[in-house]
């Protein structure tokens, strides 16, 4: 009985819905309105995207969260998340105490000790990893640069291949004498574009620059630039620099990662190489704005990273003040 009545109600409501949703002229007794012409759409309209604002807000929140995570530890009685600045016991767990930053000479000695204790090969390369503060005044930033440095104690066995662009035959002879791998003029453009000839460094005479412009996209960062010293008339000097020079570049906007030496060189030589590289890096920003290097790490191929201080290595500021 109950189910019959329920079904009757369902049928009735269904009929009502049908009558109301019929659209066109409705035949119910109540309404006798003139036939309405409702719009008949034969296409489907795309719904407007109202979700943009929410997505933007989420992105902004994520960026703000990433920026807020920099915790300044210097004024606290103990660093955030650790038990103390310095451990009290002789045997302690490293991760509960602040990270130790050594001096540069100490870290070189530590790396040598690690090599002996780990029975690792002695001629492995020593890498240095620097994080730079690329800000200049008033929202300006230092451009990521690529430079070549002449190391006092080179560790490379092979000489770099240098390609010289010059139309003048006299200059070409000078280049050949000084040890350029390939010398030529505009005729070298096609082989380079076809990838038949390639070199580590490219030197050019100022007159040829206009002709070599099609190679700019191919060579990108290696294209001769007067700032880098690859555009000169003094070819012998440029060749001297680039044949034995060590090139390094700034990756990911603020990191410099290069090999500076091998571990079997004496500590003084490694220290001298490190000093040369650091002075060269710091010359790319005026010294008045504060320390350029935020953090510096030294490591070898088989060891862990050793954080070290760059203040002891950079000699220029202190000496100029004293003078």
């Amino acid at each position: 009985m109950a189910t019959c009545t329920r079904n009757v109600w369902k049928v009735l409501s269904g009929c009502q819905k049908q009558l109301l949703s019929a659209g066109g002229p409705s035949y119910s007794a109540v309404s006798q309105v003139a036939p309405r012409t409702l719009p008949i759409r034969t296409y489907a309209a795309v719904r407007a995207r109202k979700k943009d604002k929410k997505e933007e807000e989420k992105k902004k929140e994520k960026e703000e969260k990433k920026e807020k995570r920099i915790i300044d530890d210097k004024d606290r009685p103990k660093p955030f998340g650790k038990t103390a600045w310095v451990p009290v016991d002789d045997v302690y767990v490293k991760r509960f105490y602040a990270r130790v930053v050594h001096s540069a000479s100490d870290s070189i000695n530590m790396l040598k000790r690690f090599q002996k204790l780990d029975f690792a090969p002695a001629d492995q390369p020593v890498y240095v990893d620097l994080k730079l503060d690329m800000k200049l005044e008033k929202k300006k930033k230092v451009d990521p640069f690529v430079t070549t440095v002449h190391l006092p104690h080179p560790f490379k066995t092979e000489i770099n291949k240098v390609l010289v662009f010059t139309e003048d035959s006299g200059q070409a002879k000078v280049a050949k004498e000084n040890g350029a791998a390939v010398v030529g003029g505009a005729e070298l453009i096609q082989p380079i574009l076809d990838d038949e000839i390639s070199a580590d460094f490219y030197v050019a005479v100022p007159d040829i620059l206009t002709k070599i412009l099609p190679l700019k996209n191919k060579l990108r960062k290696k294209f001769p630039k007067s700032k880098r010293g690859s555009v000169t008339n003094n070819i012998s000097q440029a060749l001297q620099l680039f044949k034995t020079g060590h090139e390094y570049m700034v990756e990911s906007d603020c990191f410099v990662r290069t090999q500076i030496a091998t571990l079997d060189m004496p500590s003084e030589q490694i220290f001298a190489n490190l000093q040369v590289i650091l002075t060269d890096v710091c010359s790319h920003r005026p010294a008045g704005l504060g320390p350029f290097v935020e953090r510096a790490i030294m490591s070898t191929q088989t060891s862990e990273a050793v954080w070290f201080r760059t203040e002891s290595v950079l000699p220029t500021a202190a000496q100029t003040d004293e003078e």
Partner: protein, 265 residues
């Protein structure tokens, strides 16, 4: 007659109705200043005050609106989330006075107290083992060492041998625990063959823990080799799964055929 200053003072010192029954009244200092200047009196005699004039005050600062500063205390016992004996901590004044000082868990950092704890620290480093007290961090390190084991992988070089220095370096690399050579005792020096050994570590010269060391054969630790091993293991696992499926299918088939035979019979 109420002057505005006095009225303000009375209002401030009145207990607000919001505070609950069990809490003590807010006892913060209110700094006030006299409205009228007190005239200079003769040398040697006290200033003459007239209450009608000189008891009129104006508010300078109510310290309960100033930010609450933390107080410095030195703990005498291990307190959770704060530290162990001898640690200098900064806590809220309410917690410091009502809990730490009241229950004797901490003392004020007066010069005498600071000297006492500095003396204790000095004894820990230089004194006799009987005079020393184990620190909270030392106790936790002992607990950690009791649960740990050192696994050293032998390298391919000919002159590989385990000495105290090598074992200390391996502790630092593998377990992250810094052990000075004087705290480690290695009875089987020098170790050259594979196998199981042990060593003793003494924390702060007081508690000694025996830690098992196992010297394992050479394994390539590079990422490329590990990827290859992982791929091999996946293949083996896939083969085993397919074999297991095949066996299951065989078992089902045999069961079905037996049932059919039973029906026929």
């Amino acid at each position: 007659m109420f002057s505005c200053g006095r009225f303000a003072l009375q209002v401030l010192l009145r207990q607000p109705a919001v505070r609950s029954f069990s809490l003590t009244p807010a006892q913060h200092t209110v700094i006030v200043e006299r409205w009228w200047q007190v005239p200079l009196s003769k040398e040697g005699s006290p200033p003459r005050l007239y209450p009608r004039r000189h008891r009129v005050y104006k508010l300078v600062e109510d310290t309960k609106h100033a930010p609450k500063e933390k107080m410095e205390l030195i703990l005498t016992q291990t307190v959770e989330k704060l530290g162990g004996r001898g640690d200098t901590v900064f806590v809220k004044k309410s917690i410091g006075r009502n809990r730490l000082l009241a229950q004797g868990l901490a003392v004020y950092p007066s010069p005498e107290n600071k000297q006492m704890f500095a003396e204790e620290l000095r004894l820990l480093r230089e004194g006799q083992p009987e005079q020393r007290l184990q620190t909270r961090t030392g106790q936790l390190t002992v607990e950690l060492l009791k649960r740990s084991k050192l696994k050293i992988i032998k390298t391919l070089s000919d002159d590989f041998q385990l000495t105290k220095e090598v074992v200390c370096r391996q502790f630092e690399k593998k377990l992250g625990i810094v052990v000075p050579p004087h705290a480690l005792s290695l009875p089987f020096e020098p170790i050259k063959e594979l196998g199981e050994y042990w060593c003793d570590i003494t924390v702060n010269g007081m508690d000694t823990v025996r830690i098992p060391i196992s010297l394992l054969p050479y394994e390539d630790q590079s990422a490329v080799h590990k990827k290859q091993l992982r791929a091999q293991r996946k293949l083996l696992a896939a083969e085993r799964d397919s074999q297991a499926d095949a066996e299951e299918d065989d078992a089902i088939l045999t069961a079905v055929s037996e049932a059919q035979e039973a029906e026929h019979v």
